[in-house]
Symmetry: C2
Subunit: 253 residues, 2 copies
């Protein structure tokens, strides 16, 4: 596969054999990459397919390209992992979004919990979400993914528990588990998964979940696991989980 620049293009911009790239991506192609007619780029369709395309025309804010070849193969994980992350500071959440996207996450849910120290200003939420979406889009392009992970609105524990029914496996990365000698082995739980399974992993905020929150999750079939024997910072836990699942299903095979 040629090492071409990748762009995610919304479904409505695909017409028969032509793709139209607009807005910031069009600007990136013409001004940053300084592309010209005849140059090739890879366009990703939201359904996960990708095609090598050739640029035909560029206007000030549109780039038109024709599909030359649909690409086979995918860099998507066989296991769809949703990371429900207890709200850390904004920059740490952005870190989880960027690295988590590289490591194959399917979706992210910021979780408001009892011990969340930070509060995200509701008025700034729209702007913040726009920035978050930009981070996962760029990380998806950079890591050659076929799909952009979704980011859900800030969710509370009760709501998370209610909405968790659709998942095949629900895990609670519980710091307390790492300190005891008796715990659920993360490896054993992960190894039992099958391709196309959907997994929800909940990770506590900096201060950890309260006992009450942990109880709500456990009552809703969240399995407490430890992520290795060392105490991980909240923003490192998601990466441990994602790298491990990738190792198990994409490298051990």
């Amino acid at each position: 596969m040629p090492d071409l620049q990748r762009y995610f293009v919304p479904a409505e911009n695909w017409h028969d054999n032509e793709v139209v790239i607009t807005d910031e991506d069009a600007h990136h192609i013409s001004r940053v990459m300084r592309a010209k007619s005849g140059d090739e780029i890879i366009c990703n369709h939201p359904d996960g397919q990708a095609a090598v395309t050739e640029i035909t025309t560029m206007t000030s804010d549109h780039v038109y390209a024709v599909i030359k070849e649909w690409l086979e193969g995918s860099a998507e994980s066989p296991i769809a992992i949703t990371i429900a992350q207890g709200l850390p500071k904004s920059d740490k959440f952005e870190f989880v979004l960027q690295k988590g996207t590289e490591l194959g996450a399917a979706a992210f849910i910021p979780v408001q919990s009892d011990r969340t120290i930070v509060t995200w200003d509701h008025k700034k939420m729209e702007k913040k979400m726009k920035r978050f979406k930009k981070i996962v889009k760029e990380a998806s392009e950079q890591s050659h993914r076929n799909k952009i992970p979704s980011i859900q609105p800030v969710t509370e524990i009760n709501q998370l528990a209610e909405e968790s029914n659709g998942f095949d496996l629900k895990l609670l990365a519980y710091e307390e588990e790492a300190k005891t000698d008796v715990y659920q082995s993360f490896g054993m739980v992960i190894r039992r998964l099958n391709p196309d399974d959907r997994v929800l992993i909940v990770i506590g905020p900096e201060g950890g979940f309260s006992g009450q929150e942990a109880d709500i999750l456990k009552q809703n079939d969240f399995v407490p696991v430890r992520l290795g024997p060392r105490i991980l910072r909240t923003e490192t836990a998601a990466l441990y989980a994602l790298a491990s699942v990738s190792y198990q299903f994409e490298e051990l095979g």
Copy 2:
């Protein structure tokens, strides 16, 4: 194990039944933690052992504590992994040090290579190294490790190849490997390791290794591997490798 604050104490400060804590750590205990006589702290000996101790006396810059109980168990990885990291910008290297320590690395080697974009000012090296050491010490304490990873001086590829003989396995995380369909499976290589094996993992800088550098490493028995099917940023690659080895040997067991 009680969730007490941990401090790494140099070997010369352990006397029979007493431990003496000095400098910044003494300051941390008295001023930040506001500890008093009778309070307990965990002291880590450089040999990897740790003990619960009770504070007896505090002066302006010394804290004296008696050993109450040696702790069993260890949060150290059974596989000693050295991360040889192609020099990224300073803040990214600091990120690798902090997260890599949490994830169990035994040592770090900053590697100067052909495509290294950044140069680290030799005059500032001493100050920089002091800062690096502080980061790994604090991350070791925070993650409840028994040992502080070492940080070696900046090393060039030829020198790294020469000094790599003591390792049981040498890996080259080679971005090009992730793009092809035929590659060495990281899982298969890792699975064959035995406890106490020493592994050296070399990770290219932002621009990747030059072909010549990759050749030097391959001639010196470095095995090229891919770390999952997605293209990882240089600072994410070390974390993928460390989390995977932890998963294999500390969670799959």
